[in-house]
Symmetry: C2
Subunit: 506 residues, 2 copies
């Protein structure tokens, strides 16, 4: 059927075409079916939406991306015909029915995801089926491999390549800024790519961006890492395992992260940069992605097994994620806290302890004995600071950077304890909400500094935490949210009184 | 935040708003999050899409329905703020995790579906989770009730109300046109609502529409049914269980129809018209929705139990659906075949036999003994024809309607047997594809007449079936599809030759 092209100034993340119901009936397609559109030598397959209102019969509306893809003039005639679903939809059905997918089926599926051949409805069914029915280790290996193969890969001229990943979910986890320079200062190659915050207050890339560039292409990343020994880059600037970003867009609204997909997401990005040795930090605790020890051990086991099948030596550290790591939350505040430790600060202890343990494991994986002690020497001798500054300079920042140079929010408000007692649990998710209300991660100076950790003795009127913001409105919003959420509750020592048994005489 | 309204000439089935990424970051929302938009006293909640390209910062794009909903002028300023997900998303998560939903949770979920509060991604997750994890009978009852309550209901002044439903999936199943007048002629009230074809060649509503109106509001439906004793209406013209249509839009692209949803879909529509007695026809066989006897019995059991909990007496008939019912497929051709039987035609036997059995069960449910014999008397005496004509007249058609008045496709082509032998299996789905290629159900005259059924002896050159079409192009398309698909294959009596064992002497 021949239809006139109409441009629709919109993009839905799918390749979408709008047909008048008369034409869709004529062509024999319904909402969510597919049509093939042809213009000169270009063809594109689009998901059908129908309307009686927004088009006249004889027109086909093409949304932004689909239009540009085949590039007609507005009003030009396109050849439009019905076409079938991609095979992958059948494989999603198989997974819905609890069946195992073959290597080839997984490869086709990942390819269709990358090519934007699947609709939001189909992707959501994939994520849901994976959440419920899971994948075995063979399928997970295939999924990881397919995700690597459909994206960019980087090969380093010198090796082996060391890498580090934190599963995330714990606020204030700025240890990457310390682990990477320590490991690089020990002479190991560690080209670390990180993500930006999705729902957290600051991803490592958001923090590093406070004082250096993070957005590099593969060639530049390779040259910096090889000359300095390490880099702290934003993974999203490269095209590593692009299927992952498309899948995340559907996982996010459902609030799920299926086990096999989480494993493949991490491992595909590490495999794509050619990691030979990988340490995975699994923060465990309420409010993280991994609430129980049992679950943490399952993840550790699966990361290690998956690494083995992919030819990567993996170790895991299950760490305490029940409350923030260190005192600072938010890009600039976390940067400042991390750099101060490189400069010699002895606190917060939780950050230093976690850093040295993780860096130590990586050093031992690289054949350096007594890793923890060696990591401490590197940190305390100032070699880590020196390596950090080399990296910052190579990434376009100031090679003489000092912690006090980092600008933090101009506006601040202290939250005080209402009564004396002991600090009960700290609610990570509530703290993150407050930091985000204050502007974090977009406003670099926004965030929190926490003065008390769980179990601390607190006197009425003592500050619990300070909220920082780059603008006053957001500070006010964060303060009113803080009043509502109460993320840090002071309790008396008697947490609950259980009434005894009363006997009656009738 | 205040943003200028921009109108986007498109509709996605969701309430969608497009934000520039700068503004979405500022508001603190991402793709698939929700915002509340306020204009004067109207507010609407929309799903966020983001762009860097199709809007300028400071603008908010509203798709057709969302725009009309709050009705600003283009360029007018709207108040835009972030808002949370509806609770239902949590209940979908619960079902994804295999948990039982409470009555109140199901009610909230169905309500959010009807109010268009859920995105395509969320609806797809619901359907997928339901397909995999199912619902118990208590949940299914609650789902059905909630679907009834969120739509229109009809109460008849005289009762009891009899009803009939076919689960579908078998082509040529025009028996409703015969069952309804027989049951009504016996003095029982049968206000039958039917659907249009989705993927079949003709739904009952498509067939009836050949010779009468099918689109009535509740008041008119009630008055016709009460005065004539029966009606054959299109259910889609009413607002019965509207959640169903929204859910179907997601089931369709995934090619699934979760058990609990299918049950609730049928039963909610019957409950909404106040059915007291319901007969469910479950066509069983390859290529139908119910391929095995075991599955058919499970459906029957669940329909009966669900009916019991809803205060409805349900019986089920598992019928043979392995090949078309009768000879005609397509709206006008099926109408003609059915009316000819009312006029006294003794064939096709499969249609008459199925009709009398089903109508007989309904009569017996209504307290009329020897239902099959009574149904035959009503049919053979011409009382069914008379009642049918009363109904046609009340529905705005010709009260003297004759089968030969029905116009069938002007263009036709016969498909001949290539060789002699016996007809093997008939592939329902392929026949439907050919009928649809010929224009069915939109072109009323299009369809097929089948001359041979499975097991028939066939001579080379004998006609197997005739394709009818209202226009020549479509006839040609259907013919070339028929050549490709070969839905009726003639085989010799020896279907396969199994080679014996050959012994070698070395």
């Amino acid at each position: 059927m021949k239809l006139k092209a109409k441009y629709i100034d919109m993009d839905t993340g799918e390749l979408t075409a709008l047909l008048h119901v008369n034409d869709s009936t004529e062509i024999g397609v319904r909402e969510q079916d597919r049509i093939k559109l042809k213009h000169e030598n270009e063809t594109v397959t689009a998901i059908v939406h129908t309307t009686e209102r927004y088009l006249k019969p004889g027109e086909v509306g093409l949304l932004g991306k689909a239009f540009q893809f085949i590039g007609p003039e507005v009003g030009e005639v396109l050849e439009v015909m019905a076409t079938g679903k991609p095979e992958s939809v059948e494989y999603i059905r198989k997974k819905m029915d609890g069946l195992e997918l073959s290597t080839q089926e997984i490869r086709t599926l990942v390819n269709d995801i990358c090519e934007h051949n699947l609709s939001q409805v189909e992707l959501s069914a994939y994520v849901t089926a994976l959440h419920i029915n899971g994948m075995n280790i063979r399928e997970t290996v295939d999924l990881t491999q397919a995700m690597v193969e459909t994206g960019e890969t980087i090969e380093f001229d010198r090796g082996p390549v060391f890498d580090f990943h934190s599963v995330g979910g714990v606020p204030g986890n700025k240890v990457t800024l310390l682990v990477v320079p320590i490991v690089a200062a020990a002479g190991l190659l560690i080209p670390k790519t990180s993500s930006r915050a999705i729902s957290s207050a600051a991803g490592t890339a958001d923090i590093v961006e406070v004082f250096a560039n993070v957005n590099f292409d593969a060639k530049k990343l390779k040259s910096i890492a090889e000359s300095v020994g390490g880099i702290m880059a934003w993974g999203g600037g490269l095209n590593l395992a692009p299927a992952d970003d498309i899948i995340i867009r559907v996982e996010y609204p459902l609030g799920v992260d299926p086990h096999a997909q989480l494993l493949a997401s991490v491992m595909s990005k590490k495999k794509a940069v050619g990691a030979d040795y990988l340490l995975v930090d699994i923060p465990m605790g309420l409010g993280t992605k991994v609430p129980t020890m049992e679950m943490a051990k399952q993840y550790a086991h699966d990361f290690i097994e998956l690494g083995d099948k992919l030819g990567m030596r993996v170790e895991c550290a299950i760490t305490y994620g029940g409350q923030p790591v260190g005192r600072a939350i938010g890009p600039a505040l976390e940067a400042r806290e991390a750099i101060a430790i490189l400069e010699g600060s002895k606190s917060p202890n939780s950050v230093i302890e976690k850093t040295l343990t993780l860096a130590g494991i990586l050093l031992e994986m690289g054949g350096i004995p007594r890793g923890y002690d060696r990591a401490r020497e590197i940190l305390e001798s100032g070699k880590a600071l020196q390596k950090f500054r080399e990296m910052v300079k190579a990434q376009g920042g100031n090679g003489d950077i000092k912690s006090e140079d980092i600008k933090i929010g101009k506006f601040k408000a202290e939250v005080l304890a209402k009564k004396s007692g002991y600090l009960g649990s700290i609610m990570n998710k509530q703290l993150v909400k407050i930091a985000r209300a204050a502007g974090s991660p977009k406003d670099k100076g926004a965030g929190l500094i926490i003065f008390k950790k769980a179990g601390s003795k607190v006197d009425a009127g003592e500050p619990l935490y300070t909220i920082y913001a780059d603008n006053e409105n957001k500070l006010n919003e964060a303060v009113s949210l803080a009043k509502k959420l109460e993320p840090m509750v002071v309790e008396g020592m008697v947490l609950a009184r259980m009434p005894g048994i009363t006997r009656f005489q009738v």
